[in-house]
């Protein structure tokens, strides 16, 4: 697969990484600013979330409405979101509008107005999002699972706490912006119908003279308790569990990925087959993989009627344990076919590629070519995955349930 990927790290520490995609008319971009909720001071949880809402309320020469209208007129679909490690600003539009969009984003990142009179509205939105979680049992269970499984600040949820959000003042917002929004470690990724040299020049002009020091790194807290039941009068019980896996930086990463896909990669994967297809115990069941630089986890989820919840949990755990008994040749072949086609199809999506090259740069400090990934997928065998499973068995898992009654595990 022929790919044209470029990268450049400016003197101030900002990296531009780009992929030229022939045959598309659009372009997508991501700014990853190392300012996620892990950087929120413990008594101001929710700060990154509120700051992110404030970022687009006026920047540079434009007030809030002018900024919004300018972006809308570029046909830009956009989203600003807070993760644990980064604040992500995503946008996608016709490639010819990309330079104008980046000009405006330079203002958003470097000269946001953060208008004090709009703080109250931003807080009200953040509080409503936090409350809204109570009406989404699945999300609530998964948020709680991450909090119980990963030590603080890695287990945090962007939504923060009521006290944290209410404690914010315009000064706290501005200080946090000044502390966290700076070029060092910030990644801008662009994928689509772009030409490298003019893009590099443009980004150099917009961000080359941006200065600042990175915020001090976070401290990892103690391991939280690994069992939690949230009592709620619901039709279904939510079951969420997690156990450690190797991170994306580890040599056995692809084996871990292979394992998760044996569990939950396609329709014939084990969890779907054994728990849903054979026994009709649930509608939704899946496992996924979540990584940080230094640690990762397999996360599994099922939602099921209360009186069958114990049975669902037992069967799910049995499937996780059964992995160590053996993995079939044709299971791995199906996992490989699925991963390979997802990989090739990602070349049809500017957003998918902009996302991949940015996260590769963050985790690995380089961009993997599709050929490299494909070779690694092709190298998977039942033996290599089994080796991984046996050296990383399901031992200490975290379990969060939400529903009328706790479950036994």
């Amino acid at each position: 697969m022929q790919q044209e990927i470029h990268h450049h790290t400016f003197d101030n520490g900002l990296t531009l990484v780009a992929e030229h995609m022939p045959h598309v008319r659009s372009a997508a971009f991501n700014f990853l600013v190392p300012a996620g909720c892990a950087f929120d001071p413990p008594d101001h949880l929710g700060l990154a979330e509120v700051l992110t809402t404030m970022l687009t309320r006026g920047a540079g020469s434009r007030d809030s409405r002018q900024l919004s209208t300018a972006l809308d007129n570029l046909g830009l679909d956009r989203d600003e979101s807070v993760g644990v490690t980064h604040i992500r600003l995503w946008g996608a539009t016709l490639a010819r509008n990309l330079p104008s969009a980046l000009e405006i984003y330079a203002d958003i990142l470097r000269q946001p107005h953060l208008p004090p009179e709009e703080l109250e509205a931003a807080q009200a939105l953040a509080l409503q999002e936090l409350h809204g979680l109570e009406d989404e049992p699945k999300q609530k269970a998964l948020v709680a699972l991450r909090r119980q499984h990963f030590p603080d600040p890695l287990g945090r949820d962007r939504r923060g706490t009521v006290e944290g959000i209410e404690s914010l003042t315009p000064d706290i917002i501005r200080q946090h912006y000044q502390r966290c929004f700076q070029p060092h470690g910030t990644i801008l990724s662009v994928a689509g119908s772009i030409t490298w040299k003019p893009l590099l020049d443009l980004v150099g002009r917009l961000f080359g003279d941006w200065q600042g020091e990175p915020p001090p790194p976070w401290r990892i807290g103690p391991q939280p308790p690994n069992r939690l039941h949230i009592e709620k009068d619901t039709h279904q019980t939510q079951i969420a569990l997690a156990y450690p896996a190797v991170p994306v930086t580890h040599p056995q990463y692809y084996d871990a990925l292979g394992m998760v896909n044996v569990l939950s990669g396609g329709m014939s994967a084990r969890l779907f087959t054994e728990v849903r297809e054979k026994h009709g115990l649930c509608y939704a069941i899946w496992a996924t993989y979540q990584t940080f630089k230094d640690r990762a986890a397999v996360i599994a989820y099922a939602g099921t009627t209360n009186d069958r919840a114990q049975q669902t949990l037992d069967r799910t755990l049995a499937e996780l344990r059964r992995l160590a008994d053996g993995i079939e040749e044709d299971e791995v072949a199906r996992v490989q076919a699925g991963l390979k086609s997802t990989l090739i199809m990602s070349e049809e999506s500017t957003s998918a590629r902009a996302g991949s090259i940015a996260s590769d740069w963050y985790y690995l400090g380089r961009v993997r070519s599709l050929d490299e990934i494909q070779k690694a997928i092709e190298a998977l065998t039942p033996g290599s995955i089994l080796d991984y499973v046996r050296t990383h068995p399901l031992r200490d898992f975290t379990l969060v349930t939400l529903g009328p009654k706790p479950l036994k595990a």
Binding site: T69, D72, D135, G280, L281, T305, R334, S349
Partner: protein
Amino acid sequence: MQFHHTSLSNGLQIIGETNPLARSVAVGFFVKTGSRDESPELAGVTHFLEHMIFKGTAKRDAFAVNRDFDAIGSHPNAYTSEENTVFHATCLPEYLPRAIEILTDILRPSLRPEDFETEKQVILEEIGMYYDQPSYTAYETAKAAFFRGHPLAGSVLGTPESIKALTRDQMADYFRRRYVANNITAVVAGNFDWDGLVHEVSRYCQSWPRGEAPREVRPCPGNPGVQVLPRDSVVQEHSFLISAGPAAEDDLRYAAEVLATVVGDDTGSRFYWALVDPGKVDVADMDYHGYEGTGAFYTYLSGDADEFADSLRTARRVLDQVQAEGITEEELTTAKSKISSRIVRGSEKPMGRMQALGYDWTYLKTYRTVDEELAAIDRVTLSEVRRLLDQYPLGRVTTVALGPLTRLDS
């Protein structure tokens, strides 16, 4: 890109747009049947049948269906709406013949009684999952109220009672009536060979029977009114407002898309500035949905219950103002930029293109290139939006609010 279409002697239609530069190919079988085609005792059968289609045929059990799809790395899925059931898959070009073979095979399902009983449990789980989501209940209640007396009033999922009562024979009969060849269109977009495709589809589908699959089509002016559903266990207030809109096949649908974008897009819309920007609610959006013979505008609001009555009044004021004064030239231009950009980006993936082709063919009985789609949006004028508003007043609205509130003072 080139468009092709043909029909088999039994009336099954095949359409396709070839794009030799695409990396993949998307295929969908559009069966023109949905919840609106169900009699009350069959509520939910279309969606349940969609699940049963994946449970196997004379030559494959459910596990073989899943294994065979996975073996070619395809991403199969299906959805059921009020008026369509669509089975689709994307795969690499070399696997298209195998994807066609599997899809056409499963579209003649065995509907084995033991699979029927197991899958019934899965459907009940799916309903249980939605019942735990307040926004879903608010939506279903509002839709049922708005379309009261119209076939679109029914729920796609059905109810636990209707699903429990459903028999395998009722489903088999529904299948025989609705999955006739002349009620199905095969739609393909991406990198594939047209002649080869036609050959494969005819080989597997030419023996499918033809039959009558009628549908009752009539407009629905809606039933204005307010319903409050108090729920102690729900934290936020969730509200739907529904008013009538043009049908999917009506030329006014482009103006309807523009109007919904101006009023309720998630950035820079009237609702955004009136409700989200000041932090009154955290969600306020409007969508236009065109159905065969009728259409509707759906507004969804969710936010803190304390201020909600006021937020709802604000939303009504926004609607009233747009109704009275229309939208501005600037808003029209901005909405066109947004919609056009989404059309272009959506069409870059074969899956997106396949859906657009299937939609145009099902509702408009025509093919449109991406550029024709863009041109249609570009042609919308302020006077057309005015005509739309006159014909489908936004104030004639059905409102449902679900959450802590016991009443709405208005």
